[in-house]
Symmetry: C2
Subunit: 160 residues, 2 copies
DNA sequence: CAAACAATTTAGCCTTGGCTAACAATCTTC
DNA sequence: GAAGATTGTTAGCCAAGGCTAAATTGTTTG
């Protein structure tokens, strides 16, 4: 939890006009903490998800492909692969294609599912495809499981 | 734009079964670039938005309040304030409360609006309040104007 | 009005995730 | 099978955004 407890700056909030009142400090703090935590895993998940997709659709995942698709230098990818390795998410022999560990596969699967739920939801909502893709990429890591479930239900009910 | 042009790793994609096929490289790259760009401004916007909210609701914005509400150390806030100052978004005399510049106010207003649209949308969708708040905080910076407009329309049509 | 407490700032550290440039390995092609 | 192109790695740089600890300034109160 937070190491930065509330001191006596702010008076206790009645939280009456829930409309645009400030949320209570603890809740507010939790919102930001949740976002910060999401950011830590976000990039990792994106890599793992992309590697999984490349393996599915191409049969192999090369660093160069990742660099192209992420619009990032090969050096950056190389460094990142090392981290993924240390985290036990991918296996890689130097100068060879990448593979996901068991754990990596699980993460890829979860990410892929989440991504698809958000993407299909946005389309069901009426967002055009290319906008939906961009927004989904950004949103996917910030949608809670609860909201995700609601999105999925919505999508099923609004299939054309 | 991207300095990392596609080379000859991947064959050209026909992009037929749009379902879960990989998007074309350029589009895929743009998705990730958009997310990276959003991340750069995200924190700045959160600070400015919070400062604006504190000014609205409390009449002043103290560094300590920001630290408490963001669950972050005062040192971190102090450093950030300096950045906001350099960016011309806030004015601050040392050891005194903060204020937003004209530009800062504009940014705060935009952020607040965007935040509220997402929050109300999630509630209209059926997400409970505290989940909606957390998700909105993370999502707001990744929702395009197009999608935002659609969310707003949806919310208006589903008011209870 | 001085002491104690609260708030702010500064200095200095760490990790992440970018980059470029130089080097190493692999693959392709003649 | 060697040359040249492509791919991958390493080294070293930078900025952002966290942190702690220590110094400084403001405020409150006995």
């Amino acid at each position: 939890m937070s190491d930065y407890p509330q001191q006596h700056s702010e008076p206790a909030t009645a939280y009456h006009k829930s409309g645009d009142a400030l949320p209570p400090v603890e809740q507010h703090a939790q919102q930001y903490e949740t976002v910060r935590n999401a950011h830590e895993t976000e990039l990792i998940e994106d890599y793992v998800e992309l590697i999984g997709d490349l393996l599915r659709h191409r049969g192999e995942a090369r660093a160069a492909d990742i660099a192209n698709r992420m619009a990032v230098s090969q050096a950056t990818v190389s460094k990142m692969i090392r981290r993924l390795n240390e985290l036990g998410l991918v296996t890689s022999k130097p100068y060879r294609s990448l593979f996901l560990t068991e754990e990596g596969q699980k993460m890829a699967e979860i990410s892929r599912t989440r991504h698809n739920v958000v993407l299909h939801f946005l389309r069901a909502l009426g967002v055009d495809d290319s906008t939906a893709r961009i927004d989904a990429e950004g949103m996917e890591h910030h949608v809670s499981d609860k909201t995700l479930a609601i999105m999925q239900r919505f999508t099923e009910q609004h299939q054309s």
